[in-house]
Symmetry: C2
Subunit: 298 residues, 2 copies
């Protein structure tokens, strides 16, 4: 972690420069994947699973046995933590439900905004270096509270052809309708166009690498809604003398470990706190499974 | 207007197919314009004004005289109508201001969403076949209510080098900070990067043709926020026997006249109403200044 004291306006601008993805170079690759899935459906998904994930797939859906195993394999304390997190997220989002005021702009003309749940939504959960079950919780929980009828989830299988049990447990807990073993730009294409296995959805949510992000941007141009083009992770923590240094360090590391391109900032005006947070970051880094990635980001 | 009675699922899907813009072909043109404005600032804006708008520009801003003339030239009843519309829009948006509930998810952890006004916003108002002063009202009014400090507006000048007085009157009424005579993809670039005259903004709003829409999508990839990639106009009116046929017809025509690619739909289960609306549409079309465009859309 670098320390910059009293940065001037120019330094501040440089420090706050957001990390951007280089999407342009992947344009043709992604456009070709979209076209192949639109034309060949499941067959294209299988082809790309073999090519990119090194997995030969008979089926894109999960068997009842796989679902059952996922729940039985997961440690009890992790299940409890996921349940607790889901309840917290649900409590937060339920508070956002409310009715709109109706406004009479001119006698006889009544105007209001009305929220109606999107019928079919698709969630993309990246694979790769860590099972992002928190993302499942944070996407699927508001979808269910809003009243979305169909909530499907796509995520790439590991080299063993399986989905991490924590992903499946979180999906089950949140009431996800169906999970499909497909990832990357091809998964976005599957949810945008529909295939034999994967239903076409109205809006696609979730983070992803630059291929996934570009695929979302391209299908958006074709009329499928997306949440946003997600970039690398960012966090800025403002800390004063009342903060617990261990918590501040944990908050910074939780984003730093997302990827070497994560942007992690701490703003403080207490020299003593700064030192304590630095110590905590070093200490917590030692036991972090994703130490190398977090260190690179810092 | 075509009438389709009791459409089946397949026909419904075809009828509801949204008009899409062909953006791909303009990619290089727009990328070149963005790069030129980023590099050459005002000089590039002047070059494109000459090339696309056939206007030689000494300055991109308006003189005090131009502002004064705009207000004095505008017919009194049009000014009154604009004032009335602005008040209605303001009433609607003021009702959307509210504070968020604070949620304690775990003792000591308080979560809430907080709305803060974006400091600098840029509004794009298309030129072309009609002065879109309603767009000025609908973008600038909520920006001011939200508390945006800087609200700048870009719009292309007519062949006489001037901005339509109704645009300027609406901008003045809404408290727009500054108006710049520049349009197209180059105006989006100016607000995204900043030039000698036009300030860089944090978020860009407003409709536009396919070049403008593509420019917004490209600058979004570079970190400037946009409202959305706007497509052609759409309206769907649901009418029962209590509706005033003249109003229904006017609502349909108000979007049909936007462009020949506008999508205009009426859903009704009253044969008598349908006939009356058809008659009203034909009658109102006769006196519509943009009759040819509206007819093409219908």
């Amino acid at each position: 972690m670098n320390t910059v004291r009293y940065p001037n306006a120019k330094t501040r601008a440089a420090l706050l420069q957001r990390p951007a993805m280089e999407a342009d170079t992947a344009h043709k690759t992604v456009a070709d994947i979209l076209a192949a899935v639109q034309q060949n459906g499941d067959a294209a998904l299988r082809k790309y699973a073999l090519q990119f994930d090194k997995v030969k797939q008979d089926r894109l859906t999960l068997t009842a046995k796989e679902w059952k195993e996922a729940v039985s394999q997961l440690p009890k304390d992790l299940k409890e933590a996921i349940r607790q997190a889901q309840q917290n997220i649900a409590r937060f989002h339920r508070a956002q439900q409310r009715s709109e005021k109706k406004i009479t702009t001119t006698p006889g003309v009544v105007c209001w905004r009305e929220s109606r749940a999107i019928e079919k939504v698709g969630l993309y959960i990246p694979g790769g270096t860590a099972p992002l079950f928190s993302t499942v919780l944070m996407l699927a929980t508001p979808a269910k509270i809003a009243g979305c009828q169909q909530v499907v989830l796509c995520t790439p299988p590991g080299k063993d052809g399986k989905i991490h049990p924590a992903i499946l447990f979180a999906a089950q807990l949140c009431g996800v309708t169906a999970v499909y073993k497909t990832g990357g730009a091809q998964a976005i294409a599957a949810m945008a166009y529909g295939t034999q296995s994967v239903p076409k959805v109205d809006k696609i949510f979730g983070p992803g690498n630059r291929f996934v992000t570009l695929a979302k941007q391209l299908v958006q141009q074709q009329g499928v809604a997306i949440d946003m083009p997600a970039g690398p992770s960012e966090v800025l923590v403002v800390a004063d003398e009342t903060c617990v240094p261990a918590f501040v360090a944990a908050d910074l590391l939780s984003q730093a470990e997302h990827g070497p391109d994560s942007q992690v900032l701490l703003v403080t005006w207490k020299e003593a706190l700064l030192q304590k947070v630095r110590e905590q970051v070093q200490q917590q880094l030692k036991t972090l499974p994703r130490q190398a990635i977090a260190s690179a980001a810092l």
